[in-house]
């Protein structure tokens, strides 16, 4: 309404005298007709044009919700063990009972578990005896005898009296949607906690890196001269040290645990950030607005925090999003080497590590956490790419 009124007013003015001067108005002089776009809405405008970046952002949000709120919706905790139900896959091949009331599932340790019709897992049947001649192990099911026949591969459940194999079927596991691990812990719940740990490690590492990197790079770039020279030589030396080795050494010193992973990653990964910030500050500090700020007597701290760092935010954000995957990767790597978190705590890396031993029989135990790691890596890489293009359109080819 307001705009329309203004437009008609302007039109009227022009119509009165097309070549005459417009009445002078101080307020309107520097008005920008288009909608005012802030820096972030500008970035968002360019960011959302990239489908991969948007997909990455969506995946990160979903994983965040999954990791933060997921544990409130499961029946199990990450450390609950159920040794009766170990190594159960998410998709079960079962045998139907003759009365059709339930299914039987043969576990890897040759026990029989009752699976209800709806896919939930029931009790374990009591083992009666083994008959090696007939190649059968007998179990008691409501007073009747059923048997595992191991004369053929894969083993089947048979009716020992009629000597018939029970009809096969496939059901999804409803008790443990993603199955259980070697100690009978729910993989879905552990996955939520693992994702939480991975994301937590990533975010804390990022915050630590941002703080150290920005302060170090900012001081080095702004001070210049000998200070800059010394500080950058230190960075040069640190960057030649193979970081993986040092993260491992720090882990040895501090012992395994979440805090040591965070400290280890935080202490060595700020080097890139310091370089980026220094480079930005070096070019920015020669510009007029900094000179102006100096002229009106702003202290160094104000110039750094109010003028230089905000202007360097673009490259800083890009460096950060590229750093997140490497922090997550490092955590998974440490977990996989067995020097990450201590059991029963779960992280994606330790879950993969635990699962390698029985990769052959239970591939789901490894591939589910591995898939989540890959998802996180993909998502952050795509977001990082998108953000780089959005923050610095000049870079785009």
């Amino acid at each position: 309404m307001e705009n329309e009124r203004k437009n008609t007013e302007a039109l009227n003015l022009i119509c009165e005298d097309p070549w005459g001067a417009l009445p002078e108005s101080r307020q309107e002089r520097e008005k920008i007709a288009g909608r005012n776009r802030s820096f972030f809405s500008d970035v968002w405008f360019r960011f959302r044009r990239k489908p991969t970046a948007l997909a990455g952002l969506a995946v990160i949000l979903i994983l965040l919700i999954f990791a933060l709120f997921g544990p409130y919706f499961t029946k199990y905790s990450y450390s609950d063990q159920n040794l009766d139900l170990v190594n159960i896959p998410p998709y079960l091949s079962v045998f139907e009972a003759e009365d059709g009331s339930c299914y039987f599932y043969i576990t890897q340790s040759l026990k029989v578990v009752v699976v209800n019709k709806d896919g939930t897992l029931g009790r374990q049947l009591t083992r009666l005896r083994e008959d090696e001649k007939q190649k059968m192990i007998f179990f008691d099911y409501n007073g009747e005898e059923i048997a595992i026949f191991y004369g053929m591969q894969p083993y089947v459940i048979a009716n020992p009296v009629a000597r018939t194999v029970m009809p096969r079927a496939k059901v999804w596991n409803r008790s443990y949607v993603l199955g259980t691990d070697t100690l009978g812990r729910d993989i879905l719940t552990r996955l939520m906690y693992g994702t939480r740990v991975s994301l937590l490690v990533a975010f804390i590492a990022v915050i630590v890196n941002m703080v150290i990197g920005i302060v170090y790079g900012g001081i080095s770039g702004y001070a210049g001269g000998a200070v800059d020279n010394i500080m950058m030589r230190i960075v040069d030396i640190i960057s030649t040290i193979p970081l993986t080795l040092y993260v491992i050494l720090i882990m040895v010193l501090l012992g395994s645990g979440l805090h040591s992973i965070i400290i280890a990653i935080g202490t060595v990964y700020w080097v890139d950030m310091a370089r980026v910030v220094r480079g930005q500050v070096l070019t920015l500090k020669e510009q007029e607005f900094v000179v102006a700020s100096k002229t009106i007597g702003s202290p160094t701290k104000t110039i750094l925090t109010q003028h230089l760092i905000p202007n360097a935010m673009g490259p800083i954000l890009v460096t950060v999003t590229m750093l997140i995957p490497s922090a997550i990767f490092m955590e998974a790597f440490l977990g996989y080497l067995g020097i990450g978190l201590q059991p029963p705590l779960a992280s994606l890396g330790t879950m993969c590590n635990d699962a390698t031993e029985n990769l052959k029989s239970c591939p789901h135990q490894l591939f589910i956490p591995a898939l989540v790691i890959c998802l996180i890596m993909f998502a952050f890489n795509f977001v990082g790419d998108g953000l780089r293009d959005a923050l610095d359109p000049k870079l785009k080819k």
């Binding site: 030589r233 040069d236 030396i237 030649t240 040290i241 193979p242 993986t244 080795l245 040092y246 491992i248 050494l249 720090i250 882990m251 040895v252 010193l253 995957p325 990767f329 998974a332 790597f333 996989y336 080497l337 067995g338 020097i339 993969c352 390698t356 990769l359 052959k360 591939p363 490894l366 591939f367 591995a370 790691i373 890959c374 890596m377 993909f378 890489n381």
Partner: protein, 305 residues
């Protein structure tokens, strides 16, 4: 140029000294003596052990002794395996790791460069898309996931390749792919972008205008310059392959240096951790330095301050 190399060399030496110092400090800051075990050792025996390994000297003296040993190539004894020295581990483990690493680098170069060239020539076509998809997957998926996936598919399901052992060429296939996957993808992407950039330059147009065949333009004119960025990242790539081999050697049960390192970390065999860390670091720094020298020699345009 000589001045630049001298400066780089000095930085390298400083870094090595720092590495030795940090490693030494960290290892001595770990609580407990290396002989702390489950069994209770009488104080006399402990004192005798400490005297034998000169652990009763003041720390600076120990450090100087250690550095003196390092300069003679002596990494000291292993605290966990009596009678074994860290040098034994390195002599036994390093050739295995180096062979695997060498084959992997060869594999990486022989696959990544053609992949990058194809992607750049067929820019925007399906070949480009395929290469970029493979490269993106390779960069984002951790090597241990790739390794497990390969083992599951090719060893367990298809039964084509062994899961461990390096007796025949077959044993090398899976470790090399798993180890080189990341570097291959990274180099392929780099090769593609660098060739694309070079192909847009004037001298390529000149070469085409002279009537040269496209093969000649690409292989003789464009490749020379496009390969320079590849050479630059070769040093860090070697470093990545070597440290990446910790996981790969563990998965494929390869008796290389990486496995010794990981084992010594989990067993808290401090001298071995120190020795292997310093050995690795020296090797990596030397590789990076050599690659840098080589890089400066092949590209006369590079100026040194």
């Amino acid at each position: 140029m000589v001045k630049y190399f001298v400066k780089r060399f000095l930085i390298m030496l400083a870094a090595l000294f720092l590495i030795a110092l940090i490693t030494f400090v960290i290892m001595h800051a770990v609580p407990g003596s290396p002989f702390t075990t489950d069994k209770k050792v009488s104080p006399e025996i402990e004192a005798a052990l400490e005297a034998k390994y000169h652990l009763d000297d003041p720390l600076p003296v120990q450090f100087i002794d250690y550095v003196k040993g390092l300069l003679h190539g002596d990494f000291g004894p292993s605290y966990k395996y009596t009678g074994k020295t860290v040098n034994d581990f390195i002599y036994n483990g390093f050739p295995v790791s180096a062979k695997l690493g060498g084959i992997t680098i060869l594999f990486v170069l022989l696959t990544a460069i053609p992949m990058g060239i194809v992607a750049a020539i067929k820019n925007g076509k399906w070949q480009d898309m395929t290469v970029m998809a493979v490269a993106t997957i390779g960069v984002t998926i951790p090597s241990f996931v790739i390794a497990s996936l390969l083992i599951y598919v090719f060893a367990y399901r298809l039964n084509w390749l062994p899961t461990f052992g390096l007796d025949s060429w077959k044993g090398y296939v899976l470790p090399v792919i798993a180890l080189g996957g990341y570097s291959m993808s990274y180099l392929a992407r780099l090769m593609r972008s660098s060739l694309l950039e070079v192909m847009g330059q004037d001298y390529i147009r000149t070469a085409r205008a002279k009537g040269l065949s496209e093969t000649k333009v690409i292989l003789k004119h464009a490749m020379r310059n496009a390969l320079i960025p590849i050479v630059t990242v070769l040093g860090p790539t070697v470093a990545g392959l070597l440290t990446g081999s910790f996981v790969i050697e563990k998965i494929f049960a390869i008796p290389g240096l990486g496995v010794h390192f990981v084992n010594s970390v989990s067993q808290r065999d401090y001298t071995t951790i120190m020795g292997v860390t310093i050995f690795y670091a020296t090797f990596l720094l030397a590789m990076v330095f050599l690659v840098d020298v080589f890089y400066c020699l092949i590209d006369p345009r590079i100026k040194f301050e």
